[in-house]
């Protein structure tokens, strides 16, 4: 078996990001769309950690910690908003909120 290189990790990150993107664009449920953004975060975080590992410094890990902070903040705010939206219309369908366009 060949030695693991940077490309292997980048491929996993790309797979996760792609699947998350597909889910984000194809699903209409607000919570599922939000979960798919988390999946895309994971793909990017794998890229950062892998680059940091093969580069030999800690920038990738530090950036990933910031990504984690942003993701946690986003999760709390987005879920609060989703629950508020659900209380108004009793649905989680993203199409029900077209008038947010203004």
């Amino acid at each position: 078996m060949e030695t693991l290189a940077l490309q292997h990790y980048l491929a996993v990150g790309a797979i996760l990001f792609g699947i998350g993107l597909i889910g984000f664009m194809c699903r209409r449920n607000l919570i599922v769309m939000f979960l798919c953004t988390e999946l895309m975060f994971q793909g990017v975080a794998i890229n950062l950690v892998a680059f940091g590992h093969f580069w030999g410094n800690f920038s990738g890990q530090a950036f990933t910690i910031f990504v984690l902070v942003i993701a946690a903040a986003e999760a709390s705010l987005a879920l609060g908003l989703v629950v508020l939206l659900f209380r108004q219309k009793n649905t989680l369908d993203a199409d029900a909120w077209r008038e947010l366009k203004g």
Binding site: A50, N57, V69, A71, A75, S76, L79
Partner: protein
């Protein structure tokens, strides 16, 4: 499942024997990578939102394993604590708060029960083997031999080169906390319309 069992026991014996760390790393990499990718596909395809959240949990576990392979142990632990322990619980709460009829679709399928039991059994056997084969020696505070990237260097990087973003992220968390509290308080005049008694009785009948 038999293949998975075989793979797990193989990797365990390889770990215990310490014969070829490179092969072990490769096997573990493909295990974690396929686990996270398969769980991601399951997550996008699943129709039940609770199953979607559980699939995200498996993806997060696989990514944490990849972090371990990349010598980012602290990050893997943080991933498990913050994501699997915090964010995912938050998501489950969101699912519960927004689901119209709780408990209706949460019953596990037979396949899921079988998979859960076998995963737990494999984990238990692996733990037993690890305990039997490698008891640690207590009382020595020597550093483990393979520690190439100790976590204090990451702490120095966070509080040295990245001090400003670090402090900014703490300010961000404070702002988000205030914002989430404001959202959760809600406005009184926009309270959801009260359920009529017929609706209430219908729901009670459905949940009982």
């Amino acid at each position: 499942m038999r293949l998975f069992l075989q793979l797990t026991t193989d990797s365990m014996t390889v770990i215990l024997a310490q014969t070829s760390t490179e092969l072990t790393t490769a096997v573990l990499f493909y295990l974690f990578a396929s686990m996270s990718a398969a769980a991601a596909v399951w997550m996008v395809l699943s129709r039940n939102i609770v199953r979607t959240a559980v699939a995200l949990l498996f993806t997060l576990l696989g990514v944490a394993g990849l972090y371990f392979l990349l010598d980012a142990e602290f990050l893997a632990a943080v991933q498990l604590v913050v994501y699997a322990g915090g964010t995912l619980i938050l998501i489950i709460f969101g699912v519960m708060l927004t689901s119209k009829s709780p408990y209706s679709k949460f019953e596990p399928k037979l396949v899921e029960v079988i998979v859960a039991v076998s995963v737990a059994a494999v984990l238990f056997v692996a733990l037993l083997m690890a305990i039997n084969n490698s008891m640690p020696t207590f009382g020595t505070d020597a550093q483990p031999a393979g520690a190439r990237y100790p976590v204090d260097l990451l702490g120095q990087a966070l509080l040295g080169d990245y001090l400003v973003p670090f402090e900014l992220s703490s300010v961000l968390l404070l702002v988000v906390m205030i914002g989430a509290a404001y959202l959760a308080k809600g406005r009184k005049h926009e309270a959801p319309p009260a359920l009529t008694t017929s609706e209430l009785s219908r729901q009670a009948k459905r949940w009982s």
